[in-house]
Structures are given as C-alpha cells and as structure tokens.
Amino acid sequence: MTEKYVQPTYSGPIRPQSPGVWGLKLLPSLCLGAGVIGALLLSMLTNFLVAGGFAFLAVLAAAPAVIPHKGRTLYSGWSQAWAWRRHRKTGRNHYRSGLSGVNKTGTRQLPGLLTTVELWEARDAADRPFGLLQIAAANQWAVAMSVTAQGNALVDPPTTDEWVAQWGNYLALMGQEEGIAQLASIVETSPDSGQILKAHTQALLHPQGPQFAKDVLLAAAAELPRGVAETAGFVVLTFNESGLGVDRKIHKGNIAVAQVVAAEIGSRLPALSVGLLSSGASVGIPLTAGDLTRRVREAYDPKVVGEFAELDAQEEEVEVTWGDAGPSSHEEEDTTYTHDSGLSRSWEMTKVPTGIFYDDVLKRLLLPIQSAPRKRVALFYHPTDAAEAPSLLDREYKAALSKAGSNSVSKASENMAVMSARQATEDEARGAGVGTVSMIVTATWERDDRVGLKKGTDAIERAVTGSRARVSVVRGAQSAHFAASLGLGLSLPDLSVIPNIARDHI
C-alpha cells in the first residue's frame, strides 16, 4: 500500500526585518525620535513657528529615506543616479586598455571592480590544482568549482526532493564553516556551435582506421548538433581572511598571507566539493588558474570561444594571462554594457517568489532561452554565522510581533509574517542555517545585435513571472554586475562602504 506522494513546498524569503516604530526601520526611527526631541527643544527655546518649521523640514528631509522605490529608498535611487551622471560626464564609463590604453603596462587589465583581484595557483589536500582569487579590496579570498547538474528528467520526485534537502544542508554547512562570506551558484548557458564536438571527434580518430568509419564519425559530428545550448554550473566560495586564520601582524606581506590561505582552503576544499554530490550536482572540480583566466577572457570577448575550441582540437594549450584577460575596450551605458565583441545586460531580482513555491521555481530561468543563448544566473547566498543565527531570528520574530501587534486590526500578511518568523526559529533550532539570498542575471549578445537584445530582454523577464518573482534591469551599474555574476568571488555587500550589519537598518 503506497502512500500518496506529496510534493514538498518551500516558503518565500522575506526582507530583513528591522525594529522600529510605525513600520519604519531602525535608523529612520532614531532620526524620527531625534527630530521630535529637536522640535520640542526648539519649541521651548524659541516659538512654535520655528519649531513647526523645523519639524516640517525634518519630515521633508526624512521622507525620501522612507519611501520605497523599487526596493530601495528614494535617497539611494537619487544618489545612484547622480553618481552615474557624473560617471558618464567625466568619461569614466569608457575603458581603453592595451598598448594605447590607460594601463601603463599595455595589457588588457580587468576593469572596474576586478582591478584589485589577484590570481594565485595552489594545490589542495587531494592534490588537485586550484586557482585562488584574492579580492584585496575586501580582504577576501575565493575558490571556484565546476559542477554538472543532474537535472531531474528521469529521476523520481522523491529523489529530487532528497537532492533539494541536501542542498539545504550544504547551505547550512556554509554557516557552520568558519569564515565563509558568500556562496555563489552560477548556472551558465552558452550556445553550442558544434566546434567543441568537432574538435573532440577529430581527436578520437586513429590514423590507421578505415576511411569509411572516419567519414561517418566526422559526418556525425557535423550533422548531429542542433544548436542546443550547453549548460555549465559553478560554485564559488568566498572566504574572509580572519576566518582563515590570517593575522596580518604575524603574516607580513602578501606572499606569506597567500601561503596560509592556500594551505587552509586547500585542506577544506575536498570536503566542500564532495558535499555537492548528494545535492543533485556532481562532485565539484576546482577550477585551475588557467581555467579561470580562460573563462574570464571568453566572457569579456565571446568571439574567442571559437578560437579556443580550435586550439583544443589541435591539442595546443590556450595561453591567456590574468593581466590580459580583460576587454580591450568597454562602454558602459545606463542599461547595457558593451565590451569587445559582446553586448551585455544585467538584471537583479527585485521580487522573490512569494508565498509558497516548489523546487522548480527557477527552472524556466535556468534552462537555455532561445533568444538569450549566452546567459548566466548567479544566486548569492550570504550565510549568517551559526552562533549569531538564533539571536537574529529572535529579533526578527519580535520585530514581526511588534509590527503585527501595533495595529489593533492585524492584517493577514502580518500574521503570516509572524508565523513564518516563528517557523524560522523552530527550523533553526532543528539545525537549519540562516542566510540571505540575492540573484543577478547577465546575458550577452553580439556587439551590434540590438534586436536580439530586445527579444532576449523580454524572454528573460517573462521567464520569472510564472513564479511571481521579478527581475529588473540594473541602472547605472552594468559593469559592476557583469563582474559580480562572472563567478570570481566578488561579494558586493562586503565591498560597499556601508558595513553589512548596518545595511538592514537603513
């Protein structure tokens, strides 16, 4: 007697809560309090008119910090727009590298946020070579692993649910491992020109094989591909220096620090890569420095993918150096990014799947999209330290309670918020981890393909609507998002000026 199969559901994540009055966040609440006190003082020292004027001005100044605009405050939107205008006026959105470029070394240095990223090569505990990325601006180090997703085509639903649950365990593990600042899972689709298959087949041929057989094999390589895109998966872990046991006072100099970091990450990497196997991906194979450089070069200049495939066919090594992996020029516009032979656009997720959803909520976005053949979807997970998680969830629960309790007629949504906050504390007690999730989607077309750009934009934005999520085009920060979704371990919250802890409260 078999039980009826019930597919498990998952509930949507919520914006980080912040304690405050009247549904405001902490900082605005404090400012409100300060404003009230200021007005009262003024009213005592001078007359009511001045105090009233002050109060009015205070409200006017505070309003944009409170009114939400596309998920952020008006102030933040204005400051970004102003920064972008200045950026464009001073010509900083252009990049010229190479022999006649800004770079005195004459190489195609990586632009923007990637300028300060260094690349090292090391070996892990299982004697596999891996490329180690140093994000000097944030004192962080990153490693990338490539995985092949199983996909759930011919697998029974209980097995898929098991995979998803194990992925949850892997995410929880990130909170328990010391020093992990970010886990980025990147799913990249790229058009299959059939060249890699041709190269692979060419390499299989034996000189003494019968001619007929060789003809058939080459014909198969030429005729079989139908332009189905390839899907590649990557998992990039970003570590904080402090969590790796680095003490700048003891380990003086870049090389000393790098040695400590390489040893520490190398010892942890085998265990971290094996954990991916039961999550429905394959065992993670660390990308070597050469792999990383090649990936970056192919992303910035999609034209060289074919050239590299030919080199592979002739079994010659692809030689790119990190200093040469960037574009020779780039033009950043408000909503597009043009680099060498590519035209890219990035989106960020502005609405999560709300309510309850199933595990294939992102599937339509992850599958190859006809009009956007070269795209990558990057999911960023920032784990909350396992020691701080319980207190954080308690604070959120109290915040949700106070929000619901402040109205005499409590709305259904606030009740839901209270319930899910309590559920979260229970889950955490049972061993789940806590963290935040964000998503960036980047797609690349050929340089002058504006028609393809428009079609692809529509297709990508439609691919998420089914799940009640939403992605919107990023304004004014296209090159930064391109670099972040590339999978080099850039953790944007850690690079920004406002510290992580305070970010939730502004």
């Binding site: 509930s11 994540p13 920064a83 010509g91 900083r92 010229r96 770079n103 240095q109 990586l110 632009p111 923007g112 946020l113 300028t115 260094e118 090569e121 000097a136 995985v147 092949t148 199983q150 085509a153 011919l154 697998v155 029974d156 998803v164 365990n169 995410l171 799913v187 890699i196 299989l204 034996h206 094989g209 019968p210 057989a213 060789k214 014909a219 198969a220 390589a221 079989l224 591909p225 139908r226 899907t231 998966g233 429905g280 200093g323 960020e348 997720m349 294939d360 992102l362 599937k363 997970y381 979260a424 981890g433 963290g435 999730v437 964000s438 920060a477 930064a480 998002h481 972040a484 920004s496």
Partner: protein, 497 residues
C-alpha cells in the same frame, strides 16, 4: 608557492595609475564603476531557501566517445561508447549489453557504435552474424568476411582456437607452453560443448573431457601441423598411453573401447553427416592485421537450431582465441597489439537451447585480460543470461521492453519509475506498429520521416544504478544513409526479427 600572474596592487604609484576599490582612478577611459551596487537581498532559513534550487536544469551531457545520436527530450548530442567510458573510469569494464525486443533497431545501434570504434582504431570482430546485419558493414570497412555453410564455406577448427597454438609455437619458452596449455583448455571446452549439443541434454563426462585434452596435447607435442578433429578421433582409437592414463582402464583394451566409444562416435558425428565439413578443415588465417572480421552464418537456416548453435559456439571460441593469441604475441614483442571490439549478437540462439549452454557461453566468452578489448552483447531478454554474464555487463542500452523484462532488469540495475514508464511507452508504441495493420494496408502510414516505426531506435543508456539514464535517439548520418548498408527501410518495413 609563487603568485601566478600579478595585477597592480592598491595604491601603487610607480608604474601604474592609482587604483582604488572601484577601479583605476582618473577620468576618460579608466573604466571604473560609478558606485558599488548591493543587490537586494532576502532572508530565510536554509530549510526553505533550498527551494530556490539552482541545479533544476540538466547540465551538459558528458562528451566521452563518439556521437551516436540525440537526447530524446532536449535534442543535445549524446556521445557514447563503452571503451571510452571505461577509459574515462565511468564504468568498471568495457562491456555493453544492448537489450530490446525484436525489430527495435538493436543492430543499427550496435553498428553505430562499431563504426565509431573502428574510426578510433578498434577492430570489430563479429563471430556470428545470422541475419546478416554486419556483412555489408565489414565489407565497407575493408575487412574479411568468412561465410559458413554446410559444405564448401569457411572452416572452423575447434582444435586450434584462433591460432593460439601456432602463436604458442612462435613464442616458445615458458610463455609459449603456458599459451599452449590455454589453447588446449579452450579447445577442450569448445569440443565438449559441441559434443553436448549433439547429444542433446546429456552432459559430457569428465573423463571424456580429459581424454580429449590428452589427445590434443599428444598431437601438439608430436606434430607441427594444426590437428583436426579427425586426427583426434583416430588418435583416440589407437589407444595411446597418455589417453589411457586419464581413463584408468588398468590395461584392459575392452574397458578402454567401452569408455571412449561414445566419445569417438560423437566426434565422428561432428565431422561428417549433418554438420557437413565445417569442423573438419583447417582455418585459413590471413597474415597481418585485418581491419574487421565477420563470420557470416546467414546461409544456415534458422530452422536448424542445433547446427547454428554449434557454428556460433565454434565461431566464438575461434574469435576469442584470436584475441588471446594477439595479446600473447604482443606481450612477447612479436606482433603489434591490436585493439578489438567483439560483438556477440543473437546470444539467445545458443542460450535458448538451455541445459549447460549458459554456463558454456560464460566460459567461452571469458577473456583473461580485458585491456583494449571491448565487448558488446545483444539479446532480447535477460531471462536467458546467467549470473556470470549479467555481472560482466557494465553498461546497458535498453530499448522498448515489456513489463516482465523490467523486473529482471531491476535485479541488475535499479530503474526509476520515470525510466520504466519511458521503456514501456517505447515498447507499446512499437508493438502496436507491428500489429496486423501493416499487412492489411501494405504500407504503415505511421512511419516517421526517416522511415522508422515509432518506438524504434530509442534506447536508454544506463551505466549505474545511481545515475539516471540518458534516453538516446540513434541517428544515422547522411554517409550511412547513402551507403544504404544499414538496411533501415528493409529491416523496419516488415520483417519481424
């Protein structure tokens, strides 16, 4: 451990411009970022966050081996052959079992894989082609075809499997005598099996086997030429001391004759009468390496199961012996090591005869070392295969099969419910196509554009119980279609195999 390739450090003045968090400092052409954006984020426990599952879309299929067809659902190119999978450590042995009900394109699938392997330098050996499916293919590859018929066709001498004995003579020394012992053992098994087939369900006696072995040993020790079955029979009749020793007849001629009588009669039955002269002549072996070899048994009517089974058994013994001989010669440095791919089609013809046949097949098809040798077995039900052969299958290509077969398959390799549903669907599609409709109307309107009936040419590639299988649609290239050797329309347009 030195840094790989350096990039400019923060704040270096000397050779580079100022560099900050946002990029190179300066105006006009520096390519920095306007501000550091922070994507919107949401908080949740991992119990629910995992629902935003990044691995829901399937990744790229492994590119190992030559392309054989397309993924049935996504259309992506599927590459497979069992030897390359073995070399890539994806399966434990280079052996493949193709399993499907008749008429679903097993031979076409096998031809595809064989052509891919031939292009990679593997020599296809097909010791037993009954339909014939591979004769044209071997001819196109420039290989040798041996046609077996009751009289006047190719010969199969069970006394010297594959030229092992002559190879042993060539090698000499300790390795040579070891190889000779192997050859005699193999020959004994082959002759014993043929005798068993001839006798019906009666198993051969152990002393009869030792008698055969002793006789062969004597013949090899005293003669230079390859012995024939007739020589064995004559020798046994002469009551030589070596054979007597195995029979323990205590010097009694009468007891000796009584013991060897049935054996002699059985051997004579093999060389005369209904078996023709297939087993009574020497095999003409080509010098040097041949690109492919096919033993064409299509002349033998399928209404003659025992004779066909005997020919198949002798053929397998000969071919496997040839492989062993080449390996031994290559070890001794006397010949170039050849890479082979053996195809055993229509296993069921021998297995269906029951009795000791499955065990014998297991013995005959065993190789001492499997390096560089791939094997493909083709059959239409696992019920015939005994445990020994089943365990040797590292990869399975399963076509449409009925439900009873699925239970048997699950004993070797676990199938998920989704996979079982797919296999049943292929089976039901094809069986309705083979119904009386075609006979009535003369032309099945449900053949698709390539002339294939529904459910044919579709196989589930399964290499382990843990990994989900890959549904492959076998695709013929234009070169093959022009050549016409795959006989697609003929095979699928009405012959129930």
């Amino acid at each position: 451990m030195l840094p790989y390739k350096r990039t400019p450090k923060l704040g270096t003045i000397r050779t580079h411009r100022f560099i900050g968090k946002k990029g190179i400092r300066g105006r006009h052409g520096t390519g920095s970022v306007a501000f550091i954006p922070v994507p919107l984020r949401w908080r949740q426990t991992t119990r629910h966050l995992c629902g935003m599952y990044p691995w829901a879309a399937p990744g790229t299929l492994p590119m190992v081996g030559g392309p054989i067809g397309r993924h049935e659902e996504s259309g992506a190119v599927v590459c497979f052959d069992h030897i390359n999978y073995f070399l890539a450590n994806m399966i434990a042995q280079p052996s493949l079992l193709i399993l499907a009900k008749p008429g679903l394109g097993k031979s076409t699938c096998c031809s595809r894989i064989v052509i891919n392997l031939a292009a990679q330098g593997y020599i296809p050996l097909i010791p037993g082609d009954t339909k014939p499916d591979y004769v044209k293919l071997v001819r196109a590859l420039g290989g040798q075809i041996r046609t077996v018929s009751r009289s006047g066709g190719a010969a199969l001498n069970p006394c010297d499997p594959g030229g092992m004995a002559s190879a042993a003579k060539q090698i000499g020394g300790i390795q040579g005598s070891a190889l000779l012992a192997e050859a005699i053992g193999k020959a004994t098994v082959c002759i014993a099996t043929l005798i068993e087939l001839g006798r019906g369900s009666e198993a051969i006696k152990d002393y009869e086997k030792s008698a055969i072995a002793a006789a062969l040993r004597h013949l090899y020790d005293t003669n230079d030429e390859e012995p024939l079955l007739r020589d064995v029979e004559i020798l046994i009749g002469q009551r030589p001391a070596q054979v007597r020793a195995t029979l323990v007849d205590q010097g009694d001629d009468g007891a000796y004759d009584q013991l060897v009588g049935p054996l002699r009669r059985s051997i004579l039955a093999l060389v005369g009468g209904e078996m023709g002269d297939v087993f009574s002549r020497r095999v003409i072996r080509p010098q040097g390496q041949i690109p492919a070899l096919c033993l064409d048994t299509s002349r033998i009517k399928s209404g003659d199961p025992k004779f066909l089974a005997s020919v198949l058994i002798a053929g397998w013994s000969d071919t496997y012996g040839m492989v062993e001989a080449n390996q031994a010669l290559a070890d001794a440095g006397l010949a170039q090591r050849a890479l082979y791919c053996l195809v055993l089609d229509e296993l069921w013809r021998v297995l269906d005869l029951g009795g000791t046949m499955p065990d014998r097949v297991n013995e005959l098809t065993r190789l001492n070392r499997t390096e560089g040798i791939g094997q493909i077995f083709i059959t239409h039900s696992l019920a015939d295969l005994k445990k020994g052969i089943q365990d040797r299958m590292a990869a399975l290509m399963i076509g449409g099969v009925p439900k009873s077969e699925l239970e048997l398959i699950n004993q070797t390799m676990t199938l998920t419910k989704a996979e079982e549903t797919k296999l049943l669907r292929w089976w039901s599609q094809s069986s309705s196509a083979q119904s009386g409709r075609r006979i009535k109307f003369g032309k099945d309107k449900r053949l698709d554009s390539e002339g294939k009936p529904p459910g044919a040419g579709l196989f589930l590639l399964k290499t382990s119980s843990e990994d989900p299988g890959i549904p492959v649609d076998i695709v013929l290239t234009s070169v093959e279609k022009e050549w016409g050797g795959q006989n697609t329309n003929q095979t699928w347009a009405g012959r129930a195999a």
